[in-house]
Amino acid sequence: MSMIKRFKISFSRMFDKLFKKKGACIGIYGPPNAGKTTLSNRILRDWVGNEETMGSVSHIAHETRHAKRRNEVSIESNGHTISLDIVDTPGLATKIDFHDFMEQGMSDSESKKRSKEATEGVIEAVKWLEDLDGVILVMDSTENPYTQVNVTVIGNMEARNLPLLIVANKVDLPDADPGVIKEAFPQHPMVPISALDGVGMDSFYEALAKQFG
């Protein structure tokens, strides 16, 4: 290959990188029920409109059992626009007991089916980790943050040198203590929000642009 041709190819790659701004692909991770889908839906409501949603929300864990991707969401913050592909993932867990679903009033067969699908969802979420450019890790501020799920997600991002933003969700609840989350993972940026009522979303978008823009 001639010098010039080679130069042209690398130049066009550089051009793509600089100007096309192919949106980074960002996964929304966290334990079941942390509010990942609620947050995804709010992001779409704020920046896409059209009543488009990412998925259904439920107080019963493992509501999301398939990862869902929404491409090219344009988000504006401080005069800059970034385009992100956003993936809402099934809640990560190290255990799934169908009895927990039965306690929520589901039948035996429904509970076993949900449990089976939930295990597959977790595997899907773990596999997605390899194809992302960054992660938003959503935690419930009323819960203990020292969990294996949180440690594993953070460890994988650190090992790959990829950006991470921690979201301390549900700050509207009286027991919420986002300070505990900050204390647990002081090396990463954290924003306290309520995905449900929208508190803290401006700071969230600012942090998003800073981490992934």
Binding site: K95, Q148, Q187
Partner: protein
């Protein structure tokens, strides 16, 4: 409760380690790994745990390890003092319900393993 020494674990390939842990935990054992798993192995362990879950037989694992660096938390400091090892406790979920929340239990396990 079985203490798995660093020497034993470091001889195994990642896949062997994860397989070994799942097999032991499914037998009902609680393992204390002197040196934990790396983040990719932890992810693999979560995947394999999910595939092993069977209704009324095996509902998964409870596992606790600690962030390796930049950890200013109480637990982090506690573990740094013990020689900067990522000590990890793994057991069947139905037997270790308290592991996640009870810091005293974890420190008890730490002192028991020394």
């Amino acid at each position: 409760m079985d203490l798995i020494s660093e020497a034993k674990i470091s001889q195994m390939a990642s896949m062997e380690k994860v397989r070994y842990i799942i097999d032991e935990v499914r037998k009902g054992k609680i393992l204390v790994l002197e040196k934990g798993l790396n983040p990719m192995e932890e992810a693999k362990l979560i995947e394999m745990t999910m595939s092993a879950i069977q209704p009324d037989e095996f509902s998964g694992i409870e596992m606790q390890s600690y962030p390796s660096n930049g950890d200013a938390s109480i637990l982090g400091k506690l573990f740094k003092k013990q020689g900067n090892k990522r000590l990890t406790v793994i057991g069947p979920a139905n037997q270790l319900k308290t592991l996640k929340k009870d810091r005293n239990l974890i420190s008890a396990l730490v002192s028991a393993s020394k």
